[in-house]
């Protein structure tokens, strides 16, 4: 990307001492995986930690999983681009998660049913074919969703450590990280995940608060506000304003995705609820986690805002890279802004702790997601097909094999995907392939006696419409036309958030109509394949 970029990266405070902190911290994760392996006896302990997680450990592990490096990166990108208007996403997460905690909407009923996965619920409520299709849709959306994790994680490491993105050291570091994750996840399952998430929560929450205080001390809240107001105007404050990049449909989409989906439909979050010791613990966990869910959007957005202000007012070398005066000059990807900014303002020692915590966050997201998707394929696609012949030992073996296979796939996908979506928008769309259908099935299945298995099946399939929200797909089918020279959008029929909302509405309509037109026949109750 040029000598100027390499020169800018080299001005980080990251030192050998910080590398030592990172290595020691990460080694602990592997040791934990080896230590807890002895407790894994069956799928309940491997996937659900024996359903023995208390409230506060549940809050810590939920936050540890959901406050990943990717979360930090995409939210800082939003803050960098949109200023304080991006805070609306945090507000949506707080309000909706708290309401879910108060009411127990979706999550408590799922916990009462004692299922291990959402597709298992599909079979209990509907039928086996719904479970299998649900499992396929979930893993399709989920694996696509995490396809850019490795790429985005590498950008953080490049930005904060100054490690050259062109050297062989970077791919080696990323591969080592992935291998570490695979080792302790394969060995210890959910117990490893819970313990490493807890440690990560402690280190990351401390680090995030201290880093935020340093940002405030260095730059001043008033100055930050004033600079954003001056450079971005009202669109830097009001998410509904013209030019903010959001608008009413986007804000609604955020209440649905950052709010409801993130806490009550996304499998990794729901997996925590299913592992809690009681429904009361679930409600407490969600009420308290609403603050963490908000913070995971708020603080990184704030860092992105600080990065923007820093670049515009204090770092002319970076301003030339991110906002070159020459309109034909190559612009550095704004995902690098926040990590480069942190590399400049954090002192040695603290920068190592933050980096270690962020890398641990990166790993904890991977371990939870890998465990989730692989267990869904094992429990909800393979097991229902194999029936009673599928022993516990084979289930655990297949889950472990799939963890490795999916890990290799995301290595590959991070290299080939070419799209210009913001990372959060990419994740919303790919996730929507799963959660638009899941929303209808969960709400309808839990709260409406008239819901039928055929309606559920059709609703799941209609969730595939969400893929039209992806940038490359939009260009392919003509929903978006872009000037190939400037990259400016010439025409866009529907934005990704509008397609997401449309898909939600479509799945609801299809589910309701399908249930009325093809109701379930009265059936004898059969036990679901566990």
């Amino acid at each position: 990307m040029g000598t100027e970029f390499t020169e800018a990266l080299s001005r980080t405070n990251f030192s050998s001492f910080d590398w030592a902190i990172v290595v020691v911290y990460l080694s602990i994760s592997v040791v934990i995986g080896l230590f807890v392996k002895k407790y894994v006896r069956n799928m309940t302990t491997y996937l659900g930690a024996g359903r023995a997680i208390g409230t506060w450990l549940g809050v810590a592990t939920m936050t540890g999983t959901e406050m990943g490096l990717i979360t930090v990166m995409y939210n800082s990108q939003k803050g960098f681009k949109a200023g304080f208007a991006a805070f609306h996403i945090a507000l949506a997460a707080l309000i909706v998660t708290f309401i879910v905690g108060i009411t127990g909407f979706i999550v408590c009923r799922l916990r009462e049913m004692e299922v291990l996965t959402i597709p298992e619920f599909y079979e209990k409520r509907f039928d086996r074919k719904t479970r299998i299709l649900g499992g396929i849709m979930l893993t399709l959306g989920g694996i696509l969703n995490m396809g850019l994790f490795l790429k985005v994680g590498s950008m953080f490491i490049v930005g904060i450590t100054g490690l050259s993105q062109d050297s062989r050291a970077l791919p080696a570091v990323m591969t080592i990280l992935l291998v570490l994750v695979l080792v302790y996840t394969v060995l210890g399952g959910m117990i490893s995940v819970v313990v490493t998430d807890y440690i990560q929560f402690v280190v990351l929450s401390f680090g995030m608060v201290v880093t935020t205080l340093i940002c405030l001390n260095k730059m001043g809240w008033g100055e930050i506000m004033e600079t954003v107001q001056t450079l971005k105007g009202v669109s830097g404050m009001n998410p509904l304003a013209e030019g903010s990049g959001f608008g009413i449909s986007y804000v609604m989409w955020m209440f649905f995705t950052a709010g409801l989906v993130s806490c009550a439909i996304w499998p990794t979050a729901v997996a925590r609820a299913l592992a809690m010791e009681s429904t009361q613990a679930v409600k407490r966990q969600y009420m308290w986690s609403s603050i963490s869910f908000m913070i995971r959007f708020l603080i990184p957005s704030f860092w992105g805002i600080c990065a923007f202000v820093f670049i515009m007012t204090m770092a002319p070398d970076l301003k030339a890279l991110f906002f070159p005066a020459d309109p034909t000059a190559q612009v550095v990807d704004n995902l690098y802004a926040m990590p480069i900014f942190l590399g400049r303002i954090l002192p040695a020692g603290l920068i190592g702790i933050i980096t270690a915590a962020m890398i641990a966050a990166f790993m904890s997201t991977h371990d939870s997601y890998l465990l989730c998707w692989s267990s869904v394929i094992t429990q909800d696609v393979i097991a229902p097909i194999m029936g009673k012949n599928f022993s516990t030992a084979n289930r655990i073996k297949w889950t472990r094999i799939l963890i490795v296979v999916i890990g290799l796939y995301i290595l590959y996908w991070g290299l080939v995907y070419e799209g210009n979506d913001d990372i959060w928008d990419y994740m919303s769309v790919t996730g929507a392939i799963y959660f638009t259908g899941a929303f209808s099935l969960l709400v309808g299945g839990l709260y409406w006696k008239g819901a039928s298995s055929n309606g559920a099946f059709m609703a799941l399939l209609s969730g595939l419409t969400a893929i039209l929200g992806l940038d490359p797909v939009q260009r392919l089918v003509g929903l978006k036309v872009v000037d190939t020279d400037t990259g400016d959008i010439i025409r866009q029929t529907m934005t990704g958030d509008q397609i997401g909302l449309f898909t939600v509405a479509l799945t609801i309509v299809v589910f309701v109509l399908g249930s009325f037109i093809f109701p379930d026949k009265p059936k004898t109750i059969e036990p679901a394949a566990a």
Binding site: R41, A49, L91, I299
Partner: protein, 48 residues
Amino acid sequence: MWQTLWTVLFFVSITIFAGMSVWVSIAGYHDLKRLFKRLNEDQSEDGE
């Protein structure tokens, strides 16, 4: 209005989060001890 909203949201949230982090870290540690105690008990029962 937006400036006030975001200022209040930010400072109230970070204060609560800081306090909550300390509490969750301590209480979570006790939950972790209980988890391992239960896992050890279950393991002993299986061994009998």
